[in-house]
């Protein structure tokens, strides 16, 4: 639908931020996922986004998710000798996830999502106002 460009653009932003929220929640959910040292650690996902080229009017077409980057499969080695997955040295592999980074991402993704929703509301009000033109 090209009739309501501002809404479509905000829609693409909403999709990006929602994907980011989903990825962050998955990272947080797996922050304590322990694996044995001969397996790869859980890899945190980082969303990559890019701008969508516009339709020639000089205005961009929003944003889109272009891919995912993974954190290191090596993770961090931790000494937990009584863990069932521990090797003979008492080591296990924990994912390379920094909670402060994840919580900050969560906040940014949430704020970005809200901002795009605000754009949708403003655009809708503007279009509604345009419909009142010519009425007296």
């Amino acid at each position: 639908m090209s009739m309501f460009n501002a809404i479509s653009t905000a829609h693409s932003g909403l999709n990006v931020y929602r994907t980011w929220l989903d990825a962050t929640s998955d990272n947080i959910a797996n922050a304590n996922t322990v694996t044995s040292t001969d397996e790869e650690a859980f890899q945190a996902r980082r969303i990559l986004a890019a701008a969508v080229p516009g339709n020639g009017a000089g205005v961009g077409g929003g944003a889109r998710v272009t891919g995912v980057e993974f954190s290191s499969p090596e993770g961090r080695l931790a000494y937990q000798p009584d863990h069932p997955l521990a090797d003979e040295d008492g080591m296990v592999r924990t994912p390379d996830i920094d909670m402060s980074v994840e919580m900050t991402s969560l906040l940014m993704a949430q704020r970005g999502y809200q901002a795009n929703l605000a754009v949708v509301e403003r655009a809708r009000d503007a279009y509604r106002a345009a419909l009142q033109l010519g009425r007296s």
Binding site: M1, M3, L14, R128
Partner: protein, 122 residues
């Protein structure tokens, strides 16, 4: 003629938009139904080609009025339960459908206002 190409195309657009509104409500209602695939309504392409025919002179208002909205199944990736309804998409599409509906209603009222002026002759 009262039922000219303008009225017929606005009428077809209203029919398409209200079909779309129904499908969107159905998609939202089935957001957690396993194996449900989101439905989409397209009336713009049929209406557009009918209007092109009218412009070329090979069709009349009646053929514009006969166009009907097509419902297709969304090919978006599904979640684990086989469902591919996306609530953001549906709510934003509802917003756009509502705006388009108001716009078409506004155009139709303007058309009828013109006719009324012509009938009254003032």
């Amino acid at each position: 003629m009262v039922y000219d190409v303008t009225t017929a195309s606005l009428h077809a657009a209203l029919r398409g938009l209200s079909a779309r509104r129904g499908v969107q409500a159905q998609n939202i209602a089935n957001v957690d139904t396993a194996n449900y695939l989101a439905q989409r309504v397209d009336f713009e392409s049929a209406l557009g080609s009918a209007l092109d025919d009218v412009n070329r002179g090979s069709a009349s208002a009646a053929s514009v009025a006969r166009t009907s909205p097509q419902t297709t199944t969304s090919l978006d990736p599904t979640r684990l339960n086989g469902n591919n309804v996306n609530l953001d998409d549906e709510f934003l599409a509802q917003e756009q459908t509502e705006l388009a509906y108001s716009t078409v209603i506004e155009a139709m009222s303007a058309k009828f206002r013109l006719m009324r002026t012509a009938i009254k002759g003032q």
